[in-house]
Symmetry: C2
Subunit: 124 residues, 2 copies
DNA sequence: CTCAACTTGATAATCATTCTCATTTTAAAC
DNA sequence: GTTTAAAATGAGAATGATTATCAAGTTGAG
């Protein structure tokens, strides 16, 4: 991957926005300061960065993909009221890969847990 | 929900096809025997049945949604080679909801785990 | 049987994303 | 610093999945 100003902007903006934004959300954020980044470039760079393991695409949050600059293992929680996405520690489900491999005989390379419900703020 | 022949066909076809088909896959299956079921009706009924809790939409298997007639709690595994989706017992991750609620203070109403890797057949 | 609510098929519309391609930028080699 | 091939870009077209629209047909309680 060669350097490009636009890719730098995409990655920096994702790092600055810990809200696990969707591509569209990130696009609108970037537009404010860097209107020179096109939508095609944004999508292109999001997949490239994800392929390179520099960012992570969060599955399970359809209809549109969310992205996370934190590639350390962790799970996610999405509040069904405010829509915000929070990180959940892997502590909540230990050795799941091992257990699932034992139980099935499958070779598991990745897994993802998505919780849904109400965040603290929205419970009130 | 009133009765309709088409809805019956959709539900029966999903029950007969344990492969966790996508909407499009199910459409092509249904077309063979019941060409009178339109795509709009299929999509409409899939969401209605899912809203009613009669079937379940499996998230995390983008880009298109998969459906499951088994609404009992269980997880999923998708083989990255053959694309098949298998059920995984909830044994592999016990008390995750409780643990996550304790850790975060969020009210969790649902969660989903999707594993990816190679199924038994594809490991050879 | 009647009638309002529900459902349908056909198709248009929408949304998210990917693709195309001519132009521009990057960076390694000279 | 010039050359050059590979990489990256912007604009917009194209695609795929899904949802919306709406006139016409179906269902079921009274």
């Amino acid at each position: 991957m060669n350097y490009s100003k636009q890719r730098e902007v995409v990655l920096d903006s994702l790092k600055k926005n810990v809200i696990h934004p969707t591509a569209e959300k990130l696009y609108s954020i970037i537009q404010i300061e860097y209107p020179e980044v096109s939508k095609a470039t944004l999508y292109r760079n999001l997949s490239q960065l994800a392929d390179a393991g520099i960012i992570k695409k969060i599955d399970g949050l359809e209809p549109s993909a969310h992205f996370d600059h934190n590639t350390h293992p962790h799970y996610h929680f999405m509040c069904e009221k405010c829509g915000r996405v929070f990180d959940i520690s892997t502590d909540v489900a230990q050795n799941v890969t091992e257990k699932a491999e034992q139980e099935t005989g499958f070779k598991i390379t990745s897994h993802e847990i998505v919780f849904k419900g109400l965040c603290k703020d929205c419970q009130e």
